[in-house]
């Protein structure tokens, strides 16, 4: 198991650059052009000139919505970027595709098979019909014994919401508060898909999607790409600017179908991945200065607070009501706007969260928290079938 691994033999890894394309609906873009934008922005964010020839390997996440270049999609991207000959792999774990592509790049640099690795993801979702989109997202749920009950992810998360609201002191208004907070943040992010504010009344009165979830409790489908450049300590020392260290990493798989889980009020893979990431980083949730959590549906953000130990189990609603997770609270969460407002281009979401963590720790975020040292990213595939958690630390590089 992970807690027996010889961490001491792994190399320290730093994020030396991270960037994203705008997230939104772009009929004139392709997955190649979107990823090119993200990649160029990642290169530009490096504190100095990184020769692309130094990229040893690339890991790129996508679900492949719409069924375009699914086979050999990663070589198609690296070819487009001029990264000829670089080994590259498509990473697929539904909505956690690029949380896992980041993990693969991290592992490569930790192990020493790469000194510089590119991690990223992309998705084009808005050029297919609503039925097509339902099909492509539906096949990431449990296809044989859950989909036959007629649900897509909204219906699946709605059942988790029903169970959570029944078990704990949380209300539909708490779900709406996730939308209000995340739209408030996303309105300040020029790369957000739905970059407008919404009031509690707006969020309360939206049309129902799958009870108790309404439209404002659901993220949009989005086009976009994101990229991060990971490097060994030796390479990171060559560049200027605050160093962003990957202090801890955790990942876990979970039962794909809800009906196979012991509880619907928690995502066990989030708990396991979180504990692992905290242990590797040597921190507790109290040490975090900000977090980007997976808010595909409002209930998912509440589950994340509980599962990642931001509060006692069942207390998530209180964090929202008391403003703990607001930008000026003790633990600002989803300062980028989250999936709800920034958007959710499936394969791009995981490294999109890393872009926000990198910006925060460099003091360049659109909703900047005060002098942060530790930040966390949390990426969930489907309704909990796969999760990654990463803890980032602003530190000095020992040259």
């Amino acid at each position: 198991m992970w807690d027996d691994l010889p961490l001491a033999t792994m190399r320290d890894v730093y994020v030396i650059g991270a960037g994203q394309s705008p997230f939104g609906s772009f009929p004139d873009e392709t997955y190649l052009s979107l990823f090119e934008t993200a990649y160029e922005n990642a290169l530009e964010s490096v504190g100095g000139e990184l020769d692309p020839d130094r990229i040893d390997e690339a890991f790129l996440g996508t679900l492949g919505v719409g069924g375009r270049q699914i086979g050999l999609s990663s070589p198609a991207v690296t070819e487009h970027l001029g990264l000829h000959g670089v080994p590259t792999t498509r990473v697929e774990n539904a909505c956690a595709a690029s949380g896992y592509s980041f993990r693969s790049a991290l592992t490569a640099v930790r192990a020493g098979t790469a000194d510089v690795a590119l991690a990223g993801g992309y998705e084009v979702m808005t050029d297919t019909s609503a039925d097509q989109t339902k099909w492509w997202l539906g096949v990431s749920g449990e296809t044989e014994w859950e989909r036959t009950s007629g649900t897509t992810f909204a219906g699946v998360y709605a059942q988790m919401a029903s169970a959570y609201l029944d078990a704990y002191d949380a209300t539909v208004d708490d779900l709406s508060r996730v939308a209000v907070k995340n739209h408030g943040n996303g309105a300040k992010n020029p790369k957000a898909h739905l970059g407008f504010e919404c009031s509690l009344e707006d969020a309360r009165s939206a049309p129902g999607v799958a009870d108790p979830l309404n439209l404002y409790h659901c993220c949009p489908t989005t086009d976009g790409a994101s990229a991060a450049l990971l490097a060994s300590e030796e390479v990171a020392a060559e560049f200027d600017g605050p160093a962003v260290k990957v202090a801890g990493a955790g990942a876990a798989s979970g039962r794909v179908g809800l009906f196979q889980r012991e509880s619907l009020t928690s995502i066990p893979a989030s708990v396991q991945a979180g504990e692992q990431a905290y242990a590797e980083a040597g921190v507790t949730p109290d040490d975090l200065d900000f977090a980007e959590v997976h808010d595909c549906f409002a209930i998912a953000e509440l589950l994340a607070y509980d599962d990642l130990g931001f509060c006692e189990r069942g207390e998530a609603g209180r964090l929202l009501r008391e403003g703990v997770v607001d930008p000026d609270g003790e633990l600002p969460t989803n300062t980028s706007g989250g999936l709800k407002s920034k958007g959710h281009p499936i394969g791009a979401t995981g490294t999109g969260q890393v872009v926000e963590a990198f910006s925060q720790l460099r003091g360049e975020a659109h909703v900047q928290v005060d002098d942060p040292t530790y930040g966390l990213t949390h990426n969930v595939g489907g309704s909990g079938g796969g999760v990654t958690v990463h803890v980032f630390e602003r530190t000095e590089v020992d040259a």
Partner: protein, 174 residues
Amino acid sequence: MTRDDRSNDGSSNDGSSSDDPPRETVSIPNEVELPRLLDFYDLQDAEHTGIHEFYGNLRDGELTTTRCDDCGAVHFPPRIVCPECLSDDLSYTSLPHEGTLHSFTEVRGTAAIGMTDDTPFVAGVVDLGDVRLSARIDDASYEDLEIGDPVRLKIVDIDGPTDQDRVFYRFVPV
């Protein structure tokens, strides 16, 4: 030759000029047949599934699943190999036809493709004691249900798109 030259000289379609590439209109189909996976029910006969006995029992009016003869684990969905101990020594066992609602939602705007014409409808997780399963809950609405409510089995016959007599389970409030 530019696009404008071609439209002006009126000679580009006669194929007489050796400089002009040949042209032809080709057609693509207006519709393609749905891939097999879009039919989200199994083909339920012995030729197509190792758990045909489950469907046969359901067709006869009984909800069953597999139990491992070696370790005693009860599975859902039914298995051909025990996921707990990897034994393939499994027997079919009856499941109760009544259970309780573990959670539920009323799907309004985002049904799975293939069920979009049925909205709104209730879907939930039903607790049958040894196992839980996801199912449609017919004759119910979100407002009238509570977690823990009793529900009982309903069997539906699947009409199309194959000529097999297929069945599936749903539940209704007691």
